[in-house]
Amino acid sequence: MDIFAQAYQWVNLKYLLEGLWVTVEVSVISILFSFIIGAIFGLLRYMKIKYLSMIVGFIVDIIRNLPLLLIIFFTYFGLPNVIGVRFNTLWATIIAMTVFESAMLAEIIRSGIMAVDSGQMEAARSNGLTYWQTMYHIILPQAVKKMIPPIVSQFISLVKDTSLATIIVLPELMFHAQVIYGQNTNFMIPMFLALAVLYFIVCYLLSVLAKFLDRRLSKA
């Protein structure tokens, strides 16, 4: 038990919380970016615009089917050779997460819209609404209900996946824990316990939010 008291002294806890802050920061920024890009790509793919939708669909399918870790490596080590600019670890992570999560979200958003019965669109159009009016007033409100639970679980994955950025030495939660038990291997178990608890709290809160939204939306 002594070990636990030593491992959880304030200096270490503060260091862990600083890591958690970076994790949250990266997650929130990536969630915002990827939601916007994902929504645009999802809609573009759904709308079946000649060539454009096909190209978007192709890109989305390729990215969705690659490991995020590969995309992180590529953004940090490969991309500078192509575009000549090197990102710091924070922005490399945010860019990689945004690229990957946008593709995942685009697919969720597209299939959410597709899940709305096509009769709805036909009925609204034949009642004189324009395509965009129908989209905005009829289709999207129904689609959003179906999308919210998978979108929130995707956000939970995103938070967990930020831990992969330890490999490019992003100073997030996982990396800070490794630094601490690297200095004293006796702190290994307390640190992994702390990691499990901290990630669990963040992700579990998100999943409670998802359930809450799901219940409210299905009542409405």
Partner: protein
């Protein structure tokens, strides 16, 4: 990119093999473990339900990397020596099984309650109704999302690169750091991942379309 294949093809394909192998072990393992915990979660026994629920919530909400690292560095220190490949595969199995448990549970609950009641009132036992009536219907609901879990599993197996698991990502990094040709190497690695994941992804989309059409015809 093609000369990376020409010069380091052996290394890449060996990584490809380890990625496939780890994914296959974890797939079988997580399917078994996940189904057991799904049955726990819907069991009439309250203790089992709580155990199932706790297992799923814990492992769904902790990063795979944390679980895998526990097996890679904590377990060898205190319990038993295991190599990176094994540690990673165990981590993958546990992590994925939590998601599979949720998918299977949702599938079983997607079968109307009347089916179970009808089977039971026709004299079948709980186990018999589960095997002959509920499961066959649940499978069609469950297979497309399970397929997506397996695609995630293959992608997630790249976590073995952290653990010296000799998988595709690991070999890719070795080649990238010896040749300094990062862009070409990562393209080659990406191509090999897509060979596994893209056909699965399109296959699942096809099944999903086919079976949901069948269901709405009924």
């Amino acid at each position: 990119m093609f000369d990376i294949f020409a010069n380091y093809g052996g290394q890449l394909w060996s990584g490809f093999g380890y990625t496939l192998l780890s994914s296959l072990y974890a797939l079988i393992g997580s399917l078994v473990v996940g189904t057991i915990f799904a049955l726990f979660e819907i069991s009439p026994n309250k203790v089992l339900r709580v155990i199932g629920h706790i297992y799923v919530e814990i492992f769904r909400n902790i990063p795979l990397l944390v679980i895998a690292m526990i097996f890679y560095i904590v377990v060898p220190q205190y319990i038993a020596k295991i190599d990176g490949f094994t540690a990673g595969t165990i981590g993958l199995t546990i992590y994925t099984s939590a998601f599979i448990a949720e998918t299977v549970r949702a599938g079983i609950e997607g079968v109307p309650v009347g089916q179970m009641e009808a089977a039971r009132s026709n004299g079948m036992s709980y186990g018999q109704s589960m095997i002959h009536i509920i499961m066959p219907q649940a499978i069609k609901i469950v297979v497309p999302p399970l397929g997506n879990q397996f695609i995630n599993l293959v992608k997630n197996s790249s976590v073995l690169a952290f653990l010296a698991g000799f998988d595709l990502m690991y070999q890719g990094n070795v080649i990238a750091s010896t040749t300094f040709r990062t862009t070409d190497t990562y393209f080659a690695v990406g191509l090999l991942y897509l060979i596994i994941t893209l056909p699965m992804s399109y296959g699942m989309r096809y099944l999903e379309k086919k079976w949901s059409a069948e269901r709405s015809e009924d």
